[in-house]
Symmetry: C2
Subunit: 428 residues, 2 copies
């Protein structure tokens, strides 16, 4: 029954009962964490073969290069080829980095601030009045932190079921030359699990921008992270669209193996057009002699091929799918008829995105915390940690065991009900 249709007395009675339940939960002294999109132990174990993929000195040679030594600043060919096939990105466009695509994104933004980008007139720090980025919301908190850290002004763009609200995006980038970029997580977006439609990708690639040095930060973090392999979403090819629209330099592409094998010791890559690479490579050469080539080699040796990676991703899906389904089942059972929360039904990625009654998200997180269940802080999915509706809650079901996840989701549902009733009571 919809909570909003209960009369005051019924609400009061229900709230009392739920608070009683909450007190009992508190007494158990849970300590559960749904806050970060971290693979669980079982998922990590899938990749333990990486640890023995290269065990002798003579195995460290990749096409004549000793991966133990210095050199090859943009990565070994073998790894580029595998990544190229896996992500359908031309090998020539790829620069392999260290273990973190976030680091590549930060560096790309910091570099733009200090040096500008190909085709721009000046470093972004020299733009009077500063520069701004569009931030589809809700989105990935660490994208927003990069902007905040570098003093890049953030402009919220509402997400729709087909990606960011493109009418709004097109309007702003055409009107405001200080808007230099947009952060996108285009497939199984963090946190909504939305995949940008072909139309959205095409409009992003072809739209007219007042800034001639506009950049799309294309964080394809969940490119092959289907929960239902074989029935996954399709994402249009941003490079093909940008090339076709004669905006080849607009795209900064990022991805990593963090959620394919080991998050702490994987391989990231950056991809961009020739003109972008021509500007960036000399700067990157001042920054480092080269990234970890042994990890690149381990990756190639362990997986063997792009097909090998895709087979591996099915094993991740087999572990993750039951967790997502368990959480969703509880959310449906507990909240389905209450009208207290809507949610996305992601077919991939790492998150379930909940929208609770506006004004309740912070209260829900506080209640959960009080009962020993840690959530991503309410607001974290918005720039400056500020969700204007105080409504979005991001669930990360991957890390806890299914057992713990179920307990945590039940507590969460309880807290959502309590917060919603409190809200209803305060309104009437």
């Amino acid at each position: 029954m919809l909570f909003s249709e209960l009369d005051a007395k019924e609400r009061e009675r229900l709230l009392l009962r739920l608070k009683e339940e909450y007190r009992s939960v508190k007494e158990i002294g849970l300590s559960l964490d749904l806050s970060r999109g971290k693979p669980g132990k079982e998922q990590l174990d899938l990749s333990d073969g990486l640890l023995t993929a290269v065990t002798r000195g003579d195995e460290c040679i990749s096409r004549g290069t000793d991966c133990r030594n210095y050199g090859i600043p943009d990565g070994i060919s073998e790894a580029k080829e595998l990544l190229s096939e896996l992500y359908s990105v031309k090998k020539e466009r790829i620069m392999i980095g260290g273990n973190s695509s976030l680091n590549l994104m930060y560096d790309a933004a910091a570099r733009a601030m200090l040096y500008g980008v190909a085709g721009g007139d000046r470093p972004w720090v020299r733009e009077e009045g500063g520069v701004a980025f569009l931030c589809p919301v809700p989105g990935y908190d660490r994208h927003f932190k990069i902007c905040e850290s570098l003093g890049i002004r953030m402009i919220n763009i509402k997400m729709t079921p087909t990606g960011p609200d493109m009418d709004e995006v097109e309007r702003i980038v055409l009107a405001d030359p200080s808007v230099k970029g947009i952060f996108c997580c285009p497939k199984y977006s963090n946190p909504d699990g939305i995949t940008y439609s072909e139309q959205t990708v095409r409009r992003l690639a072809s739209m007219e921008t007042a800034a001639k040095d506009f950049r799309i930060f294309w964080d394809n973090a969940y490119a092959i992270h289907d929960l239902y392999p074989g029935e996954g979403d399709d994402l249009a090819d941003i490079f093909a669209e940008a090339d076709a629209a004669k905006n080849p330099d607009r795209v900064f592409y990022f991805a990593s193996t963090s959620k394919i094998c080991f998050p702490g010791a994987g391989v990231s890559f950056f991809a961009a057009s020739d003109a972008n690479l021509a500007q960036i490579k000399p700067i990157a050469a001042a920054q480092t002699i080269g990234h970890d080539k042994l990890n690149q080699l381990r990756f190639v040796r362990f997986f063997g091929s792009a097909q090998g990676v895709l087979e591996h991703m099915k094993k991740h899906a087999a572990i993750l799918r039951p967790k997502f389904e368990a959480a969703e089942e509880i959310l449906e059972r507990e909240l389905g008829t209450t009208g207290t929360a809507s949610r996305t039904k992601p077919r991939g990625g790492y998150f379930i995105s909940l929208y609770v009654t506006p004004g309740c998200a912070k209260r829900v997180c506080a209640l959960c915390e009080g009962a020993g269940v840690k959530l991503t802080p309410a607001g974290a999915t918005y720039p400056y940690g500020n969700d204007p509706d105080d409504s979005n809650i991001r669930l990360a079901p991957s890390y806890p065991s299914t057992e713990d996840l179920k307990k945590a989701t039940e507590v969460l549902c309880l807290c959502i009900k309590i917060a919603s009733l409190e809200r209803l009571n305060s309104e009437k």
Copy 2:
């Protein structure tokens, strides 16, 4: 016999004979490389145990942290403790990075440009008229590339047998507030192999600077890289000196395991005072979720202790010493009495630094190149690639086999003699 004491006819005859010799060498078609300070294969093999130091999932746990997963942005305690003991740097001051200390130096400089440093008034990019660094010369080309890339003006400071010319350093930093830093390779300096005296370290730590946000970039790349273990140079403790002089925030300390184990897949670290870390850590947190903890763990497991690393360094010395001695013997035999080159006699590090007749270094490198021997380009050891005396040549004896090194050094000596005679002939 000193070439300068030969008469014109003797010089002419000698030059003809040497050029004949040069032609024969050219015909052999050598392809030798003394250009970079890369460990040789035999040295890399010493550390192959790293490849099997961690081979099972359950071995990836360090004090409860699964090193395969995300997290621990500044490095695992076990690794910090080992590095702390090895480098005599307080554990609390250490932040572990990726595989490259150069990357940490670039990032530290770029961060200072974008954000400023602790105690400064503004980001260095906001300083009118720009900022400058002192660069002891000859020095490490990649330090200079960082400054050049970031638009940091470079001021040459002459090296002396006790380190940079401190009278000059003190004079400039006191007079010019735009001078924000100095790049130092304080032990077995690149390329001269000079270790800064205690007096030099103390003066650097305590000198008065016009810029209140002055930083010493202390690249202790060869801290434990003695050619004569047990008889190595001693370097004074820069942190202790800076603390004593009440300049605790002046020091940015860098080092890495690149020339201890695998250059391509090692562990680097940055160390600094509490105030510096308090400013830097939130910025670093926007940059990455964490560096490769498995490499940190491999490092700890393979070496076991600081003592284990020092024992390992003796094996490097045993491989490197004969190479240095072979090169030095040839240089002495071929050039000792000619007055055409002076050289440093390093007791550690990776280089031999030669000073040929002023105006001859470029010609020597060109001649060597013509005969199939690649040297670090003349001038590379100076900012902007410009050696005002055109005299310094850096030899890196580590990478080639002793056999190849001997051949290459003989060719080098031949080229030095030719260039010197040409020069003498052109002068008279």
